[in-house]
């Protein structure tokens, strides 16, 4: 294993860079395609419908309860593929490293990527490394691109959503956002809440097999459930009516949100999905989700409705109705 810190030579295309690639990236991510050491990974996917997606990952802190930027960069892109109903096959990864970044931290991050990729059954087949001067990065940025195959006949899209369909989520909302916030400077609080960072394609495979008429899937990451549902409502030109009592939120996530003036519905997730399906299929879909380890707390949280204003509304546990709006930007803790 390498020790010390990243310096400009690690991105300079010389021997130091070759050492870094061999001793850190290749050591962890090893597979026959990557190990050929070519400029690009050669794969063969005959006669299949393919999906590709790319996702940049920047997060502070880099290590957080329940995960780190390495695993997150694998899960994030796999989940983007999975939301199309795809089985993920290959990833590529681009690293922007900041001069001075500890090499043992990098080693941990890449090791965690390898663990996440192995667990998900995907290979990282090509990569790139650049080093920027100290002060021009935030330790590590990772961009991953993924390739997956979609079963024939499956076409999941928000464009297919109509009024009168059921809206489901696969589990508790806001875990990732709260886990990360708990380690932010000047906000620290102690919690046992872990990030939900995980790859969802296994759950998705069970769902689409059991309910092929499923309309769409999406993972409510940044901006949380509220932002993602509003995106869907706008794209599909429908409204939604949710039932607050049905939306799963862990007690500690609710408590941390009370403390900081945040709303769990605006708080990020990295291992949950939203599913929309015909109302008649909702119970069957829910049953399949409940059987999967990642869907045990799945719930039917509402339905799509006709609404020219495309609002996402919610019946509150208190007996009133309110709008579930998306935020202008990042949710900030507040005192009033």
């Amino acid at each position: 294993m390498m020790t010390g810190t990243v310096d400009m030579t690690h991105g300079g295309g010389g021997r130091a860079m070759a050492d870094l690639i061999r001793d850190v990236f290749q050591r962890h991510l090893t597979n026959p395609i990557l190990d050929r050491g070519d400029d690009a990974g050669l794969v063969s996917v005959p006669g299949q419908r393919l999906v590709m997606s790319t996702d940049g990952h920047v997060i502070s802190p880099l290590f957080f309860p329940g995960g780190d930027i390495g695993a997150l960069s694998v899960h994030g892109t796999i989940n983007d593929l999975a939301m199309m109903g795809a089985r993920p096959l290959y990833l590529t990864a681009g690293f922007i490293l900041e001069e001075g970044f500890p090499l043992d931290d990098l080693d941990r991050i890449v090791g965690s990527m390898a663990g996440a990729a192995n667990a998900a059954g995907v290979q990282v087949i090509s990569g790139d490394t650049k080093v920027v001067e100290r002060g021009k990065g935030d330790g590590v940025f990772i961009t991953t691109t993924g390739l997956g195959v979609v079963p024939d006949g499956l076409d999941l899209s928000a464009r297919h959503v109509r009024a009168g369909q059921a809206v489901l989520v696969s589990g508790t909302m806001g875990d990732h956002g709260v886990a990360v916030l708990s380690k932010r400077e000047n906000l620290e609080f102690e919690t046992e809440i872990l990030s939900d960072s995980v790859a969802l394609h296994g759950l998705v495979a069970d769902m689409v097999a059991a309910v092929p008429r499923i309309v769409m899937l999406r993972d409510p990451t940044r901006g949380g459930l509220a932002a993602t549902l509003n995106e869907i409502a706008t794209t599909a030109a429908v409204g939604m009516m949710l039932d607050e009592a049905q939306i799963p939120v862990a007690p500690d996530v609710a408590a941390a949100c009370e403390l900081l003036g945040l709303d769990p519905l605006n708080t990020a997730n990295e291992g949950k999905l939203i599913a929309i399906c015909p109302r008649s299929d909702a119970q069957a879909l829910l049953a399949v989700m409940h059987k999967h380890p990642l869907g045990q707390r799945a719930a039917i949280i509402g339905e799509t409705i006709k609404d020219p204003a495309h609002l996402v509304q919610m019946k509150t546990t208190f007996g009133g109705t309110r709008i579930v709006d998306w935020l202008a930007g990042e949710q900030l803790p507040r005192i009033c």
């Binding site: 906000l187 009370e258 208190f318 007996g319 109705t321 309110r322 900030l332």
Partner: protein
């Protein structure tokens, strides 16, 4: 969550709704000002209005510290961070509020100013200890609730001999604002707006007690009910106000007895009095200059006063001209009466502070209440 979940109980809400419907006199209307943005937020977030009879109206008051801070003071804070090179520590609430030219702290930060969001004055002190070579200014905003923590921080800084920590003090006082609203011609008999009673502040009153409202209740013959911020507290307090109005009483009553006493937190009051003193007058956004309505740092603690350590320039601070925030803050207009509301002014593109703060009336209308408008229109 103990002391929270019980006060959001739906079954009790239904009972209270029945009680209110039963006791509200159908032959008249009730206009109650909730002074605090906290109540505004609760009313919208839980849909409390849905549980009220049609003749019970909420008038949103100026109790949002972010909303009433004049643009000039925000511009000064931006200048402290940009021209004086200080580390400016602020509560998250202020980050997006637009100043002159719609320049906010978040924009100034993007342009390189060292602006840090803190949760507590303790965090600002820690930054000052950790960065002895930098000047650290705490941007203090808020009502009586938020003032004691500022006083404690100043006392700690003095005890520790910190020479790089100052406070830009913008703390304002609630009873003075209530009196000022009731003195204005808007709420005079025959004026354009009406208030039959007040939902009194919860957490401000935890500090100052319920006694300071007694003079106003008597002088103006308006009932005041100190109300907790949970939705059941709001409903119970409305019921208590309706009873007072029906019986012709104008008393200060306390619904929030689990926290508020008549005398409040005397230790906190003592700490504030030791460090801070009354300003003769202070500008409130919406209300204008209000006498005896704000606090500044006492001479004995002058070394911790950012206004004394740093000379901020005279500047022409300007709000967006057609923004109706001031009238909304006075309770004279509703957000929907503003031409900018929902067209050019949205939370993505706020023209005034009332659209930024989660307890600003405009943001509350936008975030939680738009469906009511479309229903009314339809």
């Amino acid at each position: 969550m103990r002391y929270i979940s019980e006060f959001r109980d739906r079954a009790l809400a239904e009972k209270l709704a029945k009680g209110i419907a039963q006791e509200a006199d159908a032959a008249r209307d009730y206009h109650f000002m909730e002074f605090c943005g906290g109540h505004t937020h609760a009313i919208f977030r839980y849909g409390v209005q849905d549980l009220m009879p049609e003749n019970v109206h909420f008038v949103h008051g100026p109790g949002c510290p972010v909303c009433v801070l004049p643009v000039r003071r925000l511009d000064d804070a931006v200048e402290l961070a940009e021209k004086h090179g200080v580390i400016l520590c602020t509560y998250g609430d202020m980050m997006r509020v637009p100043g002159t030219g719609r320049r906010s702290l978040i924009r100034a930060k993007a342009d390189g100013a060292d602006i840090r969001m803190v949760y507590s004055t303790l965090d600002a002190l820690k930054i000052a200890r950790d960065k002895p070579d930098r000047q650290v200014v705490f941007f203090a905003i808020g009502f009586e609730t938020t003032t004691p923590p500022t006083a404690v921080a100043i006392k700690m800084a003095k005890a520790e001999g910190l020479t790089n920590f100052t406070v830009f003090c913008n703390h304002v006082l609630t009873p003075a604002a209530i009196g000022h609203i009731l003195d204005s011609s808007d709420f005079a008999p025959g004026g354009p707006a009406r208030i039959d009673g007040f939902l009194g502040p919860s957490h401000v009153s935890a500090v100052i007690g319920s006694r300071p409202y007694e003079a106003a209740a008597q002088k103006y013959r308006k009932p005041v009910v100190i109300a907790g911020f949970e939705p059941l507290d709001v409903m119970q307090s409305v019921l208590m106000l309706i009873r007072q109005v029906n019986e012709g009483r104008a008393e200060v009553e306390n619904e929030y007895t689990r926290v508020v006493t008549r005398d409040g937190n005397e230790k906190a009051q003592g700490l504030v009095a030791e460090v801070l003193e009354l300003r003769d007058s202070f500008e409130w956004r919406g209300l204008g200059a209000v006498p005896d309505s704000a606090l500044r740092i006492r001479e004995a603690y002058a070394e911790f006063d950012a206004e004394k350590r740093f000379a901020v320039s005279d500047k022409q601070s300007r709000e967006v001209k057609s923004c109706e925030c001031p009238a909304v803050l006075r309770g004279v207009k509703k957000p929907t009466d503003c031409k900018l509301f929902g067209t050019v002014c949205t939370p993505d593109n706020p023209m005034g502070a009332c659209m930024v703060s989660s307890e600003g009336a405009c943001a509350a209308y936008w975030s939680y209440g738009r469906q009511r408008q479309s229903e009314t229109a339809a």
